[in-house]
Point group: C2
Chain length 155, copies 2
DNA sequence: ATTAGTGGGTTCTATTTTGGAACCAACTAG
DNA sequence: CTAGTTGGTTCCAAAATAGAACCCACTAAT
């Protein structure tokens, strides 16, 4: 993973590194917050705008980017006048582990000033969950020591 | 998780939502790429700058932010002239699941145009890994159906 | 003893992105 | 016919980023 050329932000979407490609979609200040709202069931433009305090201009732009990336799907929920709502696609739902990992990290790395916070709990038992990554094939934990990145040359 | 007030970006670090607090540190275009370089063992300013193609100004700014957040530690590796390098702290290493989840998502949601890509493999066997999140307490998979967010009121 | 190079930055201006607010089109309800 | 709702767009000011040059304290080569 050594590159000959420095990266340009607008070419990140076609970079060989998946981190760069991923960030070309979700690597900005607002996008994951929009995705969070979607996981919470928020679907309407105005509701997102109000909850996030994002400007309407930027929200419209992010929703379009997420739609183009196949993360959200715009659906007409009412004709006359025609109204749209945004829903996570399968690809969008696949962002769940990213969101969960971020929440877990932030909860102990960037503690809130007051006790007030949001934590993840089991829907069935209500007890806190403690997310860890394992390899589905072997069941072994995934850590910097157990895995490494490998470049697969194409073309 | 409904807020009375819209969020201001510069107050994100003290938001009750961990997604917002997490993004206040790593939620910009470059930060996770800098963290990626650190996981690859890159420690020097000039080397990062060359590999990423980030401007020196922005790199200096991100490194300072990451240091302030306790993700990186600046260490003198040579006196006369004094020279610094950046290393991941424990808090920085704790970002590994976020990075792994992002890579996993991007590899099938944002495929590279050519076959060339970077994938994660087991360090011991060299076979591809398939990361999934489970709850360390119960061993059950974590999905949008099995967990939910709970607000814990403080103060 | 000069000259070139290195490492870790800072400073400068030009371009791009974001914020904040107003506006708009197409309808509905009163 | 007036006000309200929804999903935006348009405008201008403020902030962040890019791109390039410069700087300082050294070291190594001529």
């Amino acid at each position: 993973m050594v590159y000959d050329e420095p990266m340009k932000w607008n070419e990140l979407g076609t970079d060989p590194c998946p981190v760069a490609r991923g960030l070309s979609v979700i690597g900005d200040r607002w996008t994951m917050l929009v995705v969070r709202e979607c996981f919470f069931g928020i679907r309407r433009f105005d509701q997102m705008q109000e909850r996030l305090g994002i400007t309407r201009h930027v929200l419209a732009d992010r929703l379009r980017t997420l739609e183009d990336a196949g993360v959200l799907r715009r659906e007409v929920y009412q004709e006359r006048p025609v109204r749209y709502e945004y829903r996570l696609t399968e690809r969008g739902k696949a962002l769940h582990p990213v969101l969960v990992s971020l929440i877990t990290w932030a909860n102990d790395a960037v503690p809130p000033p007051e006790q007030s916070s949001v934590t993840l709990v089991s829907r069935s038992t209500g007890t806190p969950v403690d997310p860890v990554l394992i390899d589905a094939n072997t069941g072994t934990p995934i850590t910097p020591h157990t895995i490494t990145a490998q470049r697969n040359e194409g073309a």
